[in-house]
Symmetry: C2
């Protein structure tokens, strides 16, 4: 008499379990399970009765039970530095598309630019709530002295590697792209430059700076003539750079901001003060966000293929999840989109310099 599925009289409508289906179909729970997971191993007759019983009962397998038994969750933790940042939105769409296609779901780990948010997601990983991790942060999340990577789950990064982690990554070649920016600006005739930094410890920013300076140097530019501003990739820091720029007498004629947000903020600030872009100052951004094409003038920028970065990153992870051995890293092309915010410097500026 044990395990008779009694219909509890409670008001809480208990949803159908595998036992209900088995009873109704006149088979064992094992057969029900098999009809769902490996239908080939079940006779047509049995399978048909199970299918009917499932329909009649409205049965949906309980995933917690399945997870417990099968030791997988079909969920991926996606770590994003700041979910409100438009740059990441399109990447998330790419990730989601790829994951959904393979039956995986996406749990968002929003760091909100705060390291304090990391422990929660480290725990999430250690407690077995996800099968893998995809991170867009350049830091390896850690808590209580244990790193997320030590949990032994498949893990990959998008948009930046995590230094020393050896994790597979999908990103653009920041150095090379920034080299192209330098080439473009020098080719236009610029000789005095400004560079707006991202966050102090950002590895991508380090690469971009190195590439940009190397590019200038290769063209014979004096690096003493480069001004630097510190930013954090966001609008306001670009505006702050703009204000400082305006306060200066001896201004560069071309600016490279390592994010579109900063470039747009800078442009807005100096534009408001009557400085014309690109006539008075050329500006190049980085990222190629949707709005870089909407602002006036359209922003010349290095376009990161965001949707593809997301998709490819997810694909890398799924390959590992399926037992494959994906490449250690993939670089995607990041073309320099030359639009309307860059032009040759004005003659008088060039004259002043030569004179």
């Amino acid at each position: 008499m044990k395990k008779t599925p009694t219909s509890t009289g409670g008001s809480q409508r208990r949803s159908a379990t595998i036992h209900d289906v088995a009873a109704r179909a006149g088979v064992s729970t094992a057969t029900v399970s098999r009809s769902l997971a490996t239908p080939d191993l079940v006779s047509d007759a049995a399978r048909k009765r199970v299918t009917a019983a499932i329909k009649a009962t409205g049965y949906t397998p309980n995933v917690a039970a399945r997870n417990l038994r099968a030791r997988r969750t079909m969920m991926v933790l996606v770590i994003v530095p700041n979910i409100a940042n438009a740059f990441f939105a399109e990447i998330l769409r790419g990730i989601d598309d790829e994951l959904v296609a393979s039956g995986y779901g996406m749990i968002i780990g929003n760091l909100d630019n705060k390291a304090e948010r990391e422990p929660r997601y480290v725990d999430l990983v250690y407690s077995g709530q996800v099968d893998a991790v995809l991170s867009m942060s350049a830091r390896m999340p850690a808590a209580n002295g244990r790193m997320m990577s030590e949990a032994g789950l498949p893990m990959a990064t998008i948009c930046s590697g995590i230094p020393g982690s050896g994790l597979p990554f999908v990103m653009v070649d920041n150095y090379k792209a920034s080299l192209a920016v330098a080439g473009h600006l020098v080719g236009l005739g610029h000789r005095r430059f400004g560079y707006i930094h991202g966050p102090a410890d950002n590895v991508n920013d380090v690469e971009r700076r190195a590439g940009f300076l190397a590019g200038l140097e290769a063209e014979g530019i004096e690096l003493d003539d480069v001004s630097f501003w510190h930013g954090d990739f966001y609008l306001e820091s670009g505006m702050a750079a703009g204000r400082d720029f305006l306060a200066n007498r001896d201004r560069p004629t071309a600016i490279f901001a390592t994010s579109d947000y900063m470039a747009i903020g800078f442009m807005k600030e100096v534009g408001g003060a009557g400085v014309r872009v690109p006539e008075d100052i050329s500006i190049v951004g980085f990222d190629g966000i949707e709005f870089s094409e909407v602002v006036t003038p359209n922003l010349t920028t290095v376009c990161q293929p965001r949707y593809e970065l997301g998709r490819t990153g997810a694909r890398l992870l799924l390959e590992r999840l399926k037992g494959g051995t994906p490449p250690a890293g993939i670089y995607l092309d990041a073309p320099l989109l030359i639009r309307d915010s860059t032009a040759p410097p004005r003659l008088e500026t060039r004259m002043r310099r030569s004179g």
Copy 2:
């Protein structure tokens, strides 16, 4: 001799379970469980030994097991119409902040503007993978004839109610806000208007149109003088409206677009053709996205308090999850931010009309 925790010789490092901790601390698994869930019910001595054992073993409770037993997952499904839309990003941040503060996680259900994506999330709900649902879609997700709401989970909506669902909601009063838009434009002296629609069946758009027209009518405007364009809330549809506007001889002097994306797209398109904003045409948007303040000229728009919408929606849900009875609906203020894209119509335009 049953259940002796043997260290499996496999290469797969098995992570510590509650048994390992119990054995090491010399207590039962129940005591370990209690020290974690209800530490007050455990003696200091025992708790201390358990804590030490947890530390020594690096134990993290398996969540699948806990979920199965406790019948909850501490996860909320957040349904978003399109994750790449900047409008939703800030709302997600608000939701996440509130959920995290209560220990809940967020699974993203991205519909990608496609109804085909709904079934997956209906299943997710029925399979017990989440404790509650927060939706930003105006449709009730359904699959195989069963609606998501019928699963019996707490559910709430943000930014728009679901007609006929009776679900608690957090949103702005679209009608009232649009009334204010009409008042603003008529007050400026405009007499001929254009209205750019959102998606055909969008309930919010219906409200906005009704409010806008009612506002015009109240001011004695002939509704025959209102032009309509169909859009879908996105940039390109605003641009399309702009192209059509340019092709017209008899143009309105003021446009109300029911999303900032469309307003900005329209502005960009007509601006590129030499039409000046606001001198030749006034434009009002809706949403108050970050970039409405960055475009030139700054967009006059109805500002939806996105972060607060997210937070409040999540709070509503958490209250229900805690057994409370939250209000059936909450309206948040949506102020009309008057910026630089609206101004009185030019004299000649007004003359032409009177003449």
